[in-house]
């Protein structure tokens, strides 16, 4: 990972941008939508998916005819690493246009507003990062444990590259899965 903090015009924006970038790289959520009127949407996905109506062999672009009642799943983790919208997707760049970011952690149809989400995220993050020598705790049961989300497809599961799709997280007792992280142990030096 290369350090890219060249575009430090404004401190606040830098901090804000760091959250957007961090969540873009690791904070994938999946959103579900139901189609209510017929639509045609073109997608050029990195993996094979079902229901292709037309397949353009060269660009692997697929066009879907969506009928009312169809369900649409939006893989925000993949979309947030799409090189078309985010050149050099694996790098932290703080000068990306703010409109490119898809959602600040909360389903836009249920959020309290993007500005509110960003203020809350920045405030809590800042309050944590004020502390010196922040690091992960040492030991086995620390860290966020996750796996690529796979969809059961009968005998054969879908496999994906790491961090190219949605993640599914282990619950605190490691008995089942949940869509959000449950535990991350850290150590810090008290500020006072």
């Amino acid at each position: 990972m290369i350090l890219l903090l060249d575009h430090r015009h404004d401190l606040t924006n830098t901090f804000d941008g760091s959250i957007l970038e961090g969540s873009r790289l690791r904070g994938g959520i999946g959103l579900v939508r139901q189609v209510s009127s017929p639509k045609t949407i073109t997608d050029n996905p990195p993996v094979e998916i079902r229901n292709p109506v037309t397949v353009d062999a060269v660009s692997a672009t697929k066009t879907f005819l969506l009928k009312p009642g169809d369900r649409v799943i939006l893989d925000l983790a993949s979309a947030s690493l799409d090189p078309e919208a985010f050149p050099d997707p694996e790098l932290i760049k703080l000068d990306r246009p703010i409109e490119s970011y898809l959602a600040c952690g909360v389903d836009p149809q249920e959020s309290l507003g993007t500005d509110m989400d960003r203020v809350v995220a920045t405030s809590i993050f800042k309050a944590i990062l004020r502390h010196r020598e922040l690091k992960r705790a040492i030991g086995k049961r620390v860290g966020v444990k996750s796996f690529p989300t796979t969809v059961w497809d009968g005998q054969v599961g879908r496999s994906r590259l790491e961090f190219e799709g949605l993640r599914t997280y282990l619950t605190d007792d490691e008995r089942s899965f949940q869509p959000v992280p449950s535990s991350l142990r850290i150590v810090f030096v008290d500020q006072m």
Binding site: S18, V32, L66, L76, I124, L134, R136, A137, F177, V189
Partner: protein, 331 residues
């Protein structure tokens, strides 16, 4: 759920591409013909929980992964509506009818008082400090005295729960509101359960159970809020909701200018307390609490892992607290 029947797990996992809805009666009670099932479930009063559509009704599920198509779908709230995880079940949360209204009116009804960003920042800062101090366990690491804490479970999720509870006047037990019905862990778990019922989860066999639990949790929290508000008991919450229903603005303990006015706005929007609680308050509160937790923990995980090179910079920036920064944030 299902009076103990678990046949749907086998059916749904064996035939993932058969076009069976997670609550399809064909998956849940496959040994009885649908017409007879209908009679049984009508007499049990549970017919509304299941989808009675035939399998393979031509409805497709498509995953979109490119930025362009995701962006296009997210900005088209008319054609693509948020759904609960099980199609066909009664929208007890009241979301089904209200999805159309939400995007256009949201900016209007999410009440933002003067200086709201500063208020939120002060609240978050003091809450996080308090929790780190309270929950941090002293640890000696290489001769240096440090504190260890589960930042997700003990700090981020708790702060988000307290923040959203203050904004929406949820019945959270705090030192300022000792009569609150739920502890912070209970309330977070309930909000998470409500959220999980409508979030994306690839495991089709557990979708029905999640949805049932979600509705149960929503009923529990929602009816509690409604009942307390209606009976006008002695709790701080009741007083606050009552006063806002009668027009005098009450004050919350920590976010004085939010709370009551925000809820009043929701009540105005929904024309009824029930509608406000089940249609707006619970979906927004649960989505926000879980969303903030997910966002911040994955973000922090990145900056403590692969992105550790950026950490010193962020630490320095976080300690640069200026008035300008506050103003720039609330622009």
């Amino acid at each position: 759920m299902n009076k103990g029947h678990v046949f749907h797990k086998l059916v749904l996992r064996a035939f993932p591409n058969a076009g069976l809805a997670p609550n399809s009666i064909y998956a849940h009670f496959p040994l009885v013909v649908p017409s007879e099932n209908m009679k049984i479930h009508q007499s049990l009063g549970s017919a509304g929980r299941y989808s009675w559509d035939k399998p393979n009704n031509g409805k497709e599920q498509v995953v979109f992964r490119s930025h362009k198509s995701v962006k296009a779908i997210l900005s088209d709230n008319e054609s693509f509506q948020r759904v609960s995880s099980i199609s066909g079940s009664a929208p007890k949360l009241g979301l089904g009818d209200r999805d159309n209204e939400m995007p256009s009116t949201k900016q209007k009804f999410v009440y933002k008082p003067e200086g709201w960003a500063k208020e939120i920042r002060t609240f978050c800062l003091s809450k996080v400090e308090e929790l780190l101090r309270e929950r941090g366990v002293p640890r000696e690491v290489n001769g240096q005295s440090t504190h260890e804490v589960d930042i997700v479970r003990d700090v981020i999720s708790v702060t988000a729960t307290h923040l959203v509870s203050s904004m929406f006047n949820l019945p959270l037990q705090t030192s300022a509101n000792p009569d609150g019905k739920y502890s912070e862990v209970e309330l977070f778990d309930l909000l998470y359960t409500i959220f999980a019922g409508s979030s994306f989860d690839p495991d089709v066999a557990t979708a029905f159970a999640r949805r049932e639990k979600s509705e149960e949790a929503a009923q529990q929290v929602g009816s509690n809020i409604v009942a307390t508000a209606k009976t006008g008991g002695l709790s701080g919450l009741a007083k606050r909701i009552k006063s806002l229903m009668h027009g005098s603005a009450g004050t919350g303990p920590s976010l004085p200018s939010f709370g009551s006015l925000l809820v009043r706005q929701l009540v105005d929007m929904a024309d009824s307390l029930d509608g406000a609680v089940f249609g707006f308050l619970l979906p927004m509160a649960s989505s926000s609490v879980v969303g903030y937790t997910a966002l911040l923990s994955s973000c922090l995980e990145y900056y403590l892992g692969d992105g550790i090179a950026h950490l010193p910079d962020l630490n320095r920036l976080a300690n640069t607290d200026t008035q300008d920064a506050d103003d720039a944030l609330s622009r």
